[in-house]
Symmetry: C2
Subunit: 328 residues, 2 copies
């Protein structure tokens, strides 16, 4: 089985690569080749028992998607995207990469022909939804009314994925990822950054800024859960999806206050005391339009699983990023 | 007020043109110019008290959308589309006209700049929805899961319309038209053609073929109601829409049996007896995935109105197409 990862240099792409290299197989089939693509050259994994190739490029450039499809990978993980904040700041770049890039990929696969019909796992986002929301959570038949250009581009990607699948050009599945928490690495400027920052920075002995009130509620899953979603989606019998190819992934609905209480239970008062509340009206405004909770019934029935409580999400971070050690 | 109609040569485009010429104004403002565009040259209306221009072209051709936007019309009715059957038969043409054409139009408006922000009235369709449906009708928050490429392209158009409106590039409103019944003119090969044919052909003294069972239920509005939707959408205060720019239009949910009973009441047994049942399994299969009824609460609250019973739909046809005369 030949696997292609688009967006392989990102956080999820790197973790997916690591996992595939470690497993050596996907859904019961041995991996025979792995191709890694991103706008910056992905790091080549070492000690790999199958051939790997890395390349860098712009998915929306002429010929790039054709080159990738010509290798006829059996599974394509399409994780490549301009993120929410950048797609909002640079309207043209967001549409070029997130919409045109996705469409060019699907077109390249369609035009490759000769019975080529790969599994395409597309990472969508809960940003396809926009307020107002039902009070009891967003169910599987709620409409997609994005309030960002990024969410618009992801919702369009879902529609294309479904139509190209219905036509038999690809075997697509879209997974709407929750906000990934705890993101490893440095703080970034994303409006959602604080959800991870208030856990990650204290666990690394640093102060964290909380720009919103503790009553803010949001929908989370760990990076480990996200990788499990991707692997499960790649191996799933898509007959069970029918024509509705995109699924809201399970997650955990918690308030910021519940996040902090969980940190206190896992790591103690001193660590939790490193969070400093400093309201930011702009971030408070942005976060107000975000989804608080979902009912991910379809995905759960199909075997997708996320964490059950926020302490588990913190423990995943400690295990996967801090070598299991909670600082005293 | 300068008005541009894209798709002006189609049935709805011609009726809209007639109505605008007759009214001389739109939403209280006098019409100062009317531009008519289609792939075939639209007929120029006669006896018009304001300048009219007609042109033919392909909206997806380079420069065409820019040329149209350069005239800076205040209102753009975007009715141009490859219809459902053709978009399904010709995948590339459907995406080129219905997706690229719409996007190029929006881009041309965006790039015209200098505060240009026209009202764009986009005709979407109930084809954005796909079975299975809720038994009590499709409400305003039901997700769009089209089962045709045409429906996919319309759903993408809705998303673009909302994002370009949110960004302030246009002031857009999308209206999801019911199946238009009774369509005037010759029978066509659309799978939905019989809904009109079983009324129109008998009223013109001809036999009509009914390819499905009388229990088939569907969602209808007259051409006159469709024109009223377009005019109301062009003049509506879009502040009431918020970010959700597309609306399911009101309509009438009736079975084929109810259509026939209404025809019998309006025109008598002899006319109704001109319908011959000749089952067509292919059409029966297609129609099975279509929506049967909607709850168009938002549009109704905003003042959109359709017919209340099928006899009224038949009478509209008799008045508008047969000069009010029911054949004996």
């Amino acid at each position: 089985m030949h696997i292609l990862i688009l967006g392989a240099a990102g956080m999820i792409g790197r973790k997916l690569t690591e996992r595939l290299v470690r497993d050596g197989r996907l859904g019961g089939s041995p991996i025979t080749a792995l191709s890694l693509f991103d706008v910056a050259l992905p790091e080549a994994p070492t000690g790999v028992p199958f051939p790997t190739a890395t390349s860098a490029g712009d998915l929306s450039s002429p010929g790039e998607a054709e080159r990738l499809a010509a290798e006829r990978p059996d599974v394509i993980f399409h994780l490549a995207a301009i993120v929410s904040g950048e797609a909002e700041a640079d309207f043209e770049k967001g549409y070029r990469i997130n919409l045109d890039g996705t469409r060019l990929l699907l077109e390249a696969v369609r035009l490759a022909g000769q019975g080529y019909r790969p599994r395409v796992v597309f990472t969508s986002s809960i940003a396809v939804f926009g307020a107002p929301f039902p009070a009891d959570g967003i169910g599987d038949t709620f409409h997609t009314t994005p309030l960002t250009s990024y969410g618009t581009q992801k919702a369009i990607g879902e529609l294309l994925l479904a139509d190209y699948s219905r036509r038999g050009f690809i075997d697509g599945i879209g997974i709407r990822l929750p906000t990934i928490c705890v993101r490893p690495g440095k703080p970034n400027k994303a409006a959602s950054g604080f959800f991870s920052g208030i856990i990650r920075e204290p666990l690394n002995g640093q102060e964290a800024i909380l720009p919103v009130s503790e009553s803010v509620r949001h929908w989370h899953a760990s990076p480990r859960a996200a990788i499990a979603f991707l692997l499960h989606a790649a191996a799933l019998d898509t007959a069970a999806l029918g024509a509705r190819r995109s699924l809201t992934m399970p997650g955990l609905s918690v308030t910021v206050g519940e996040q902090i209480a969980a940190l206190r239970r896992v790591a103690g008062d001193r660590i939790a005391g490193l969070i400093r509340h400093q309201p930011d009206p702009i971030i408070e405004g942005i976060v107000q339009g975000w989804a608080e909770r979902f009912r991910a019934d379809r995905a759960e029935a199909l075997g997708f699983e996320a964490e059950r409580d926020f302490e588990e999400i913190i423990r995943v971070y400690v295990e996967d990023e801090l070598g299991g050690r909670i600082p005293a």
